[in-house]
Symmetry: C2
Subunit: 458 residues, 2 copies
């Protein structure tokens, strides 16, 4: 009975939102948890009806030690029973999170979606089916509401996003459990789901049970809210894009907002125009920009990343402040040097020339160690700087003009120096001094590991 | 210190949203609770700066017995100290709620706002200041989110609605308490605020403390959300009204939606068009109407109140089904008869003719009791009905045609009858039978207390 009703409900969701079509090949995200077991089994039951081909995908996050491998085994056995091919990937999500400064949840999410798309493409799957439920949607809406990330919209989980479909989006967590019970399906419990330090778990286990006392059908209510807000948001985004070109003008690395046209827009659209141009701003910053045209001419707002918004007579001008950096960054040899403030990571190694099999000039430069006067450091240009060239030396200013390097970024190019002067304008031009010669024995190899070259940024 | 900061914060709110202007006369809602004590005192402190005239208003809800009168006394004394005139009204909110089928909260709300407007008008107040805080706003947003009232928007409390202003809207409950403490201000505690059966109290005391653990600045976050949603909602409403006339056509009591034009609208606007026409529908009903143009011609949707939406070739036709009512409603003499189903309230009294000083034909008819054959009842017309006229009798059908009464409403006119036939087509035509004569001693006086006459409705 439960089985029949729940299956019907899922079919209705599939029809309503056109989640599946006949002959679809579907990649199913499969953690082995209750929701994904329910999804995979329901799709298995609907296989004939829609003539589906199913593939499951399991990402082993390598986080919970033995538990993770047991999950993997469970997934294998489950898919074997249903005769559904299963692709397994193992990735160290913890490492990935640390490297990319993400929370474990964010990192797992990013990696999973990366593989979904990659595998779907490789396997020619028309759809990627994920097991999000109406209960997940309640958590997501509350999280986005409470998160306080300023202008981020209250947004829930949609039944369909491009090729990603969510057939369980109308089921509650209780319905999923009932379905599993009735069908004698087992599943794996993720022990981290009990960790109340994770906001989502805290909402699920602590807060939402209280809210359900006020509205036992909160899942349905929130599904309707998701529907409404998603489409209203889409409409507002489209409207904003429609008028955007009549309000802004892009000039190389600057953006101009025509004040006359901007003033006449409804406040809701004004905010969205600013958000479209500078998507990372928070609510207060957007409000300040929206109100800037009414302030005195010449008033400016300083934002993060050296961004400045300037109130001119006709326009709001948004540009990078190109602030001069006067600090000196000392380099340690044979270590990874990471200078956060300028987002630069590089290594300077001293090696014997025999060890270099092939000179690789991709983000690398090589210097005769004999011509180098330690210590090495990074600084930015100052008045009167020059660099050695073949027949003497050349003023940096002249060099930049000859190389047509834009005025704006000249102060942002890191200069690798030793005690005697500039060795390398990073990624742009190296000094003549220190070229590798026949008699060179020891080599200073400088390798840029991370740096956003402002010349190619545009 | 607290005092200074909080006062500054309120002033900033007042300036930001232009809540008060110089020389304003302000009516202040004053319950005697912490928020309204804080508001009244802050306005008192700002009196000189804005050259305000202040009047306070207290509504005694007569609910909590002695407590309510003690509140009243507290308010009187507080206002006397500050030399602010106070208007007090006493209304039995419980009775009002029962009579109008409202919850106590709704009834109190309705009555208070009724008096705010009435007194503001009488006293020439430009503004009505209410003591809602940012904490109230958090509760309101969550309530509207959870309430599950379908298409009702997630909406918070705005700093300004026409002449109603809320200077404390950026303060949290904690800030209010700090301000009161620092200023040695006492206030009255409403014991009903502890009743967790009231959803708002449940949220305030049970749920929100948990949410604040995830975001301690939830008040600020929700204020920003209110700002964003209110303006986006206003924009969407305006856009909907702009296009409404190109999509709908009103034909007497019908509304036609042009399917061709409707189809091309974005889904968000489609929903809002339907909501604009039929504001009381819930989410599912609106969805069904939005999807109706894609269904077969001739398909119809039955809504409450006999409303029907019909899928025609070119239009969606929305009309009242004019269902025939076959039920008979018996009338009790000398009592108020209220027939809910047909929304009719009337009295039929038998009185001595001497008691009638003046015949009043406004919603009344008079019959010679001697010509009446009890019992009286109300029914609706049926085939072959006739009514007595001066020279005999006339078919109702013929009468309606002669009187040019629209076909559609003929079945909706209640007929007052006795055992011998029709006495009065309510509000339209009375039988010749039973006219008051010289010899009439006892009179049947029929008085309509409540009825929406469909003829004059349009």
């Amino acid at each position: 009975m439960v089985k029949e009703n729940i299956l019907k409900k899922v079919e209705k969701t599939i029809e309503n939102y056109r989640l599946l079509e006949k002959d679809d090949k579907v990649l199913v995200g499969f953690s082995g948890g209750k929701d994904s077991v329910c999804l995979l089994y329901i799709l298995y039951l609907l296989k004939e009806k829609y003539n589906l081909s199913l593939i499951a995908f399991h990402l082993n996050h390598l986080i919970r030690g033995k538990e993770a491998y047991q999950d993997e085994v469970f997934c294998k056995e489950f898919c074997q029973k249903l005769n559904i091919p299963l692709i397994i990937k193992r990735r160290n999500v913890k490492k990935y999170a640390q490297k990319n400064k993400l929370s474990l949840e964010e990192a797992g999410h990013k990696l999973r979606y990366y593989y979904y798309e990659k595998i779907a493409q490789k396997e020619n799957c028309q759809k990627i089916a994920l097991a999000h439920t109406a209960s997940d949607n309640v958590e997501t809406i509350l999280l986005s509401l409470i998160s306080g990330k300023g202008l981020k919209r209250i947004s829930g989980i949609l039944p369909k996003n491009n090729n990603i479909v969510r057939p369980l989006i109308d089921l509650t967590a209780e319905e999923v459990l009932n379905f599993l019970k009735e069908n004698n399906l087992t599943y794996r419990e993720d022990s981290s789901n009990k960790d109340l330090k994770i906001p989502r778990n805290y909402l699920r286990n602590v807060v939402i049970p209280y809210l359900k006392k006020l509205n036992p059908k909160i899942e349905k209510t929130f599904r309707q809210i998701t529907e409404l807000l998603a489409w209203e948001n889409e409409y507002l985004e489209k409207e904003t894009k429609k008028i955007l070109n009549s309000v802004i003008k892009k000039e190389k690395k600057e953006i101009l907002i025509n004040k006359e046209n901007f003033k006449n827009l409804p406040l809701a659209i004004k905010r969205r125009v600013v958000k479209e141009i500078l998507p990372n701003l928070n609510f207060s910053q957007i409000e300040r920009i929206v109100k800037l045209p009414e302030k005195p001419i010449g008033k400016k707002i300083n934002l993060e990343n050296n961004l400045i918004v300037y109130n001119e007579y006709q326009n709001l001008r948004i540009f990078s402040s190109d602030k001069k950096i006067s600090k000196i960054f000392k380099i340690k040899l044979n270590k990874i040097n990471y200078f956060k403030e300028i987002n630069l990571k590089l290594t300077c190694q001293v090696i014997n020339i025999e060890k270099i099999k092939k000179f690789n000039y991709n983000n690398c430069e090589y210097f005769d160690k004999n011509d180098i006067h330690l210590p090495l450091f990074i600084r930015f240009r100052k008045e009167g700087d020059f660099i050695s060239i073949k027949n003497g030396k050349k003023k940096l200013k002249k060099l930049f003009i000859d190389m047509k390097i834009p005025q704006k970024i000249r102060d942002q190019l890191p200069l690798l120096c030793d005690r005697k002067g500039i060795l390398w304008i990073l990624g742009v031009y190296r000094a003549y001094r220190g070229f590798i010669k026949k008699k060179t024995k020891k080599v200073l190899k400088v390798k840029i590991l991370k740096w956003q070259n402002p010349i190619y940024q545009n």
